[in-house]
Symmetry: C2
Subunit: 532 residues, 2 copies
Amino acid sequence: MKIALAKINQTAGNIEKNLLNISKYISDAEKAKCDLIVFPEFAICGGYCGDLLLNEDFIEENIKAADKIIKESKIPVICGTVTKDGKGGLLNSVSLFYGEVSGLAGAKDNLNDSAFNDMKYFKNYNIVNIVKLANKNILFVSIDNITAIKETIKTIFKETTVKPDIVFVIGCSPYYYGKIEEFKQCFKELAVENKADFSYLNMLGGNDGYVFDGLAIYADKNGNFKLTDQSFEERLIIADTDGENVKTEQNDRNKELYDALVIGLKDYMVKNKFKKCALGVSGGIDSALVAAIAVDAIGAENVLGVLMPSKYTSKESIDCALELCKNLNIQSKTVPINDVYNTYINQLTPLFEGKPKDLTEENLQARIRSNILMALSNKFGYFILCTCNKSEDAVGYSTLYGDATGGYSVIGDLLKKDVYALSKYRNTISNVIPEFIITRPPTAELRDNQKDSDSLPEYDILDDILIKILEEKKTYSQIIKSGVKKEVLDKVWKLLSTSEYKRRQSPLGTRVSKTAFSRDITLPMSNGYKWK
Amino acid sequence: MKIALAKINQTAGNIEKNLLNISKYISDAEKAKCDLIVFPEFAICGGYCGDLLLNEDFIEENIKAADKIIKESKIPVICGTVTKDGKGGLLNSVSLFYGEVSGLAGAKDNLNDSAFNDMKYFKNYNIVNIVKLANKNILFVSIDNITAIKETIKTIFKETTVKPDIVFVIGCSPYYYGKIEEFKQCFKELAVENKADFSYLNMLGGNDGYVFDGLAIYADKNGNFKLTDQSFEERLIIADTDGENVKTEQNDRNKELYDALVIGLKDYMVKNKFKKCALGVSGGIDSALVAAIAVDAIGAENVLGVLMPSKYTSKESIDCALELCKNLNIQSKTVPINDVYNTYINQLTPLFEGKPKDLTEENLQARIRSNILMALSNKFGYFILCTCNKSEDAVGYSTLYGDATGGYSVIGDLLKKDVYALSKYRNTISNVIPEFIITRPPTAELRDNQKDSDSLPEYDILDDILIKILEEKKTYSQIIKSGVKKEVLDKVWKLLSTSEYKRRQSPLGTRVSKTAFSRDITLPMSNGYKWK
């Protein structure tokens, strides 16, 4: 049996375009003489559609799209759809499109496990239709996470009288680091336990900062992988149950994360019709990595690096920034901020009532830089990239309306240690980030001789604490016992718990972890908790 | 029977402070010789706590707090709590605290209906313990919305063998306009249908932009209200089943909305320990209303109005703004933006490659004003108020990092028509908003002779379309049939669907509708849908 799995990259809401993409892959699968083609969850509407799912016209258009596929296709098509249950309820469903036997093959009934607030839009509805195709009993389900997959499969295999030979699980579930290995393991186990073939197909591509990994798996009933494809590339892949095994794997953590960040940025820009982007290049590592990702996402010719030196900017920083632009082959422009800064200060000094210099003057510099970038965005249509990282966002070490601005936060879900790791990884492909950028101590250069470590713990200590709080959910005493100093933990918690307001106004960016701020981690902004 | 209902205003996470408040009201209820005191959902931890609910230490502190109440109280206490189910699961529960008979009185099992992502934290757990107190069978449940309340009550009354004499529903559910009447009607009906007394008590106060209305209802089994209290004021109220009826009602839509906006702002500032606020006063109606709300929330002596005129600012605007400040008795400062603006333009002109003036220059002015306000915030600790309204937010008629900035969006969930209505309402209390501000045509004054209606439909048309899309979920053809011009609808939809990125970075503010942006209405930012 030859099964085509379409790893497709759809656009939320653009049914017309998405249908063209589906048609193309159906045609390819027919040419390849496949017995069946499978598309992921939300293949027609794209994911994630949000409140478009409350729009009657949009739903009607989804339903009409099905007719078109039925008419066109010569082989059975399995496709993630949005359908109605006849009582006005909306279903997140799996449809079989194949002439007269077309119909509902399944509907999602574990909605609460979705990242996308599925319960707001859909009804839970347990439909199990085992479909007979090419003499096999095939079960199709749409599920997001491993716990739900295991539970659902257990229930179905217990309750159904016809034992499925093959189970297809389709998803539109967001990537996070670690997901791919978890899913591979899960499908292998399911196959062996249930003595059936198990296949998984996820949506591909970036949408509003979520990255769908396009993971495709086909494990036979002995737990052998006939197919695994974990590239972030749109394509048709074929699982031939009687043919050779096919594997496209990545086993490098840094490469996997880097590729996810590239597709996350690329798809956000493409799907929002931005052609060019600009970012402030400071000579620091964050903007260096973001510039490299941008170049890999949309090409050097579409990236502008803007240097905005102040009187606190060192010559090293300027040299580093220029060298980076040269290495990446991107255009650079320099806009000094001193004159604007001085004019602000002249204007504001009478209001400041003789108060000494403080954060005010530092934040002002960051805000001037943002204004300059936004002016370039307004005038030329540049999409502005935010260069904040997750460690900074965690402790509010950024300026609201200053560096924490832009259309997209490219590395906002990356801890500082991963900023280093990915920069080094990128340099193994081609040496674009100057060595000095990687080895110099981090500094915001908003006052003389400033270093990040003046205000924050060293990043290795900070990242270690953040992992314990955000990922491992350790208790206070567990963290102290692990060797963290009380005053350091108290400071980090205080900064973390009082910076939520900043994170809520920060640009959205690519999620690569299970603990992305504003998505997975949401603390109250009015937070009276004293952790101790 | 004398039942004390404690309309309390708790702080998310501050268990210590919340416990003191609970103790105070228990003591008051004891003094008033009540038979029972009832507290709302999340009375100990405050709402909404978000990921604090994933913190083991925080949960332990919640559980310990119960012991303290049990020890102190001499009358039965019913209280919304967070407890554990013995298998590591967390319950959003109702506890009875009364010496040795203390225990779980109920747990929420309709979590998906919560505004607060309850399913992320809690397990669904259907517990029905009918408690015998003062010779009455009493049922306690914690539920958020009317559909869920009706369903749950129906199930319980069908399944339980002991018929409850009184049902208490406690909540921590957010206010929206219309909620109070819906709930009163619902409780009246429930009482009559089930031939039992029905009482409701909601949390009070603002938290992160949600306002809990503190609604208290006691309807006897004949559907007569023994008690209704819909003031936004913290207090103990007593439903005496043998005594007089007590009613505190508001039947003025504008007053209700205005009061909700005042408590929303006040509580956000108080709970985040801000004492003073500042806002740009432009001479327009939005900033005028926000200034009035601020004065009513935290006192005139704590509000600063900042005039930031440019060369496009009319004398009328300056006069209006100064008159407003005078009427409200707030301090004003004037910071002209021309010098800073000109310096930016000098710096940027070489980069602009001779391109003509456009939105760039307009946005820059708005951003300079934001920078000035933020500088005052940094230097003196002013909390900055955002003055954007919902009609503007809907169509992106604001400048990102410009006027769409600040710690709190005071009227961000108010359509322009309601900005007018509430301004007029406020003037009926004392005449603070100059008449000319209310009657003049809206203008952003970012270029010569600019009017909002140059870029947007007139606000009455715009608001009408927004209501049809956001609240009534009308189809395209229904809206056209209602008399809206196709080109106007297309323009509004285009602006609405392409401005989501701006709204996601906007400050949080008080929600007063069921259709607040970023909370209730979430469109995809990469939105390919062509509505037609």
